[in-house]
Amino acid sequence: MTTTNVAIESIATEPEVEPSQAPVLSVRGLTKRFADVLAADNLSLDFYRGEVHAILGENGAGKSTLVKMLYGFYQNDEGEIILDGEPVDFRSPADARDRGIGMVFQNFTLIPALTVLENIALVAETGGFRLDFSGISKRITELSARYGLEVNPKAYVRDLSIGEQQRVEILKALATHPSILILDEPTSVLAPHEVAALLDIIRKLRDDGFAVILITHKLGEVFACANRVSVLRRGALTGGGMLVDFDQRSLLALMLGEHAATEEDPETSGARNLLDNGFALQNVTFKADDGRVTLRAIDIEVACGEIVGIAAVSGNGQASLAEALLGTGEILEGKVVIGGEDVTRRSVSARLGLGLSIIPEDPIRDGSVPDMTVRENISIDGGRGGLKSWVLRPAEVVRRALVASERSPFPLPVLTRRLGSLSGGNIQRVVLARELNEHCTHLVAYYPTRGLDLTSTRAVRRRLLDFKDKGRAILLISEDLDELRALCDRIVVLHEGEVKGTFGRDDIDLMEIGRLMTGGHG
């Protein structure tokens, strides 16, 4: 019912190190305002060595604001931060780093054109003129071995997978010899097996005496590795304490409020209303923009009134399914069929005109224009719902935005705001609202609930099921196996660009799917 993951549940352990008596870091009455928004409201918390302290809350609850103050990224308006018993005033992240606070950001801060070693050297260098690469390299090897952070120091960051990049981020944070490590939504970018590995690392860090601060909105992670939990809602602390004093329900109630917590996940009504044909990839071999062949002889058919799920570890060709259907990249062999028409040689706009809608892998990078307002972004739609006339009437843009806002599964940000001024979660919501429109009959959704809070996640799932009931064809690519199991009629497993297995709704076996996803091992 939540985004809890099987892999996570099975490996929860008790801490081996007793927390020391005095907190290493405390905040008292911490308050931060942005314009007229109170992002952190009188927060008082304690953090201890040898503990994982989870900060739990929905998007916009103020979790990131809190840790950005701890890391000197923002300055608090009121209250104080006490480190090792003395009040501190961080003017910048460099101050915080000097005092032993390390942070792993949600959006990676690595430089793709440099190697792992060089990236780490950027923060770890000791100030001399000559960079001590061999010393840093030694430290990387040491840390890698100790915490299972396997990564090749000579590899270029641009060649690394997301999971590896995150390990580099952690190494980078550790290279500055911190005693407190902040992880901001570390699992939001990871595939299931990578999540399990990360949680392992977090537990090792905890057992080694680090004070780990884990920002998350996933209950499963909290139960898998935290000792202490604090719940934020709308900038304020709604509760907290030792984790053993809480269960899922009580945490949910603190996170969402009593009413929302009792709401169940959506289920399909079973009513069908079939439209025309669905869509299909027939024996498709596909070359991506970067020249790699990412799909080999793929056959996937999505009928109307059906949700087909794709289970795959990130980078195994699932992104190319969306590309092949949309018409970017090159089809080397095979046919793409949408609504009964062969569109293999047709343009992107012709395909969108058939009612195709794509929720991109990265909605911010591939689906939004930061310099335009929310409502202008909603009008960027080349498909059936697109602008018809060559004249752009401002009233039409406003109307379309209002319609989208009304039909959106969740509240949208203020329509006149510049998109670039919004948080990542809000940009994602705008793109989702645009793509999940009434003209969409063939939907490819790439992990639409990634990083969304529980309320929005449920709303998106409800919308997908509603689409299915209306007879639309949906291909759901997700890294959350529980989500696939909850929503899909069939699950297709992809590994290295090939279909490795297909599971009907009644014989979904998550362990077997997990085995096929990783190439048949383990």
């Binding site: 942005f34 314009a35 007229d36 928004v37 109170l38 992002a39 409201d41 916009g60 103020g62 990131s64 604001t65 950005k68 923002y74 709308r234 900038g235 304020a236 949309l326 970017t328 343009s347 992107v348 706009s349 395909r351 969108l352 005109g353 794509i358 991109p360 990078r365 591939d366 689906g367 939004s368 224009v369 930061p370 310099d371 335009m372 202008e376 009008s379 960027i380 739609d381 080349g382 498909g383 697109g386 602008l387 006339s389 060559w390 004249v391 752009l392 009437r393 401002p394 509240p411 949208l412 940000p413 203020v414 006149t416 705001r417 001024s421 948080s423």
Partner: protein, 356 residues
């Protein structure tokens, strides 16, 4: 309490975010302008001139005098058109530094029509107009094709093509097109009177003013009220998102650059038919580059670049007076223009970023 304040962001943009950007950019602009002038005056002081006196003389001889105001409008033609030549591709995310070369090729093509095509007299001006646009547009088209087909950076190729264009014009005016009857200057023969751009009644400002104003109005209307303009902005804002929403990004890149080049070509045509009456070597006094600066100063918007081009016009006209009055080279005002541009580029930072 806190809950209410947070949820209010869903219904209404914070007042500060709605009013502040305009106020800030206006205040910032004024600050940059005044700051630039003060530093300019100080530089002149170091050189032993009375800098503030020089600024005063610039003002007296440009904005404050009837003659100066007319001269500013004369300058608005090349400055404004070359600014639009940068601004239009900029809306599609392209950096066109090639206004200078496109200006030269527009002038070249217009000259060909007027002197060598044998077109009927009555059609000379309209055909020169078309040729000017086509010449500049085709020159920018080279840059556009290199960018689209070969992924060559357009800023670099357009800049380098400037030097080629200047040499192309030099070749013709030193060689085959040189006036056979005139002295040995690199000039073509003088244009027939039918190919002279008419002057607005009672002034020294040519009909080129109507061209530049029409371009500004068209820019405003197209980017604000048409689907093509909207899509161009989408391409400029995020080409990947544009491609994925079915917009042919390549076409938009090509045409925005080609149209930008055509506008610069019109500036070249207006220069040979309105001011010089012939094609000659060195026909542009850095117009393409000044237009580039004006476009960035004006934020690539129609009204912004109009104001910026007027401002640079005033500085340029005022600069001519420095030569006569203060004994300074006219080009010393380039320092002022550069200071202003530097200030604008350096202050282009979003300090109102709201996180959370």
């Amino acid at each position: 309490m806190a809950a209410f304040r947070i949820s209010s962001t869903w219904t209404q943009a914070p007042l500060i975010e709605r009013i502040l950007p305009t106020a800030v950019s206006f205040g910032r602009f004024t600050l940059v302008l005044v700051g630039g002038m003060v530093i300019f005056a100080l530089i002149l002081l170091i050189d032993g001139h009375n800098g503030f006196e020089a600024l005063r003389s610039m003002y007296d001889n440009s904005i404050a005098s009837e003659f100066g105001r007319q001269e500013i409008l004369v300058k608005l033609i090349p400055f404004g058109l070359c600014a639009a030549a940068t601004a239009i591709p900029a809306r599609a995310g392209l950096i066109n530094v090639g206004g200078e070369g496109q200006f030269y090729m527009g002038a070249w093509a217009a000259t060909w029509v007027i002197l060598f095509s044998g077109a009927p007299t009555a059609l000379l001006l309209p055909l020169a107009f078309v040729a000017g646009a086509a010449g500049g547009g085709a020159w920018a088209g080279i840059t556009a094709l290199l960018r689209i087909k070969g992924n060559v950076n357009e800023a670099i190729s357009s800049l380098l093509l400037n030097f080629v264009a200047i040499q192309v014009v030099n070749y013709f005016v030193y060689g085959p097109w040189r006036d056979p009857e005139g002295p040995a200057w690199p000039y073509t023969s003088i244009f027939p009177s039918a190919a002279e751009l008419p002057v607005i009644y009672g002034s020294r400002v040519t009909a080129g003013l109507f061209i530049v104003l029409a371009v500004f109005v068209a820019m405003f209307l197209v980017f604000k009220f048409t689907r093509v303009g909207f899509r161009t902005r989408v391409v400029g804002g995020n080409a990947e998102a544009a491609e994925r929403s079915g917009i042919s990004v390549g076409k938009y890149l090509f045409w925005s650059l080609a149209i930008g080049g055509a506008v610069a070509g019109l500036a070249g045509m207006a220069e040979v038919t309105g001011i010089q009456g012939r094609l000659r070597s060195g026909i542009s006094i850095q117009y393409g580059y000044i237009g580039f600066l004006a476009s960035w100063l004006g934020g690539h918007s129609a009204w912004g670049i109009c104001l910026a081009a007027l401002l640079f016009g005033a500085i340029s006209v005022g600069g001519d007076s420095l030569q006569i009055g203060a004994g300074l080279p006219a080009s010393s005002v380039n320092i002022l223009m550069s200071l202003i541009l530097f200030g604008v580029l350096a202050s282009r930072r979003n300090i109102w970023k709201v996180g959370g």
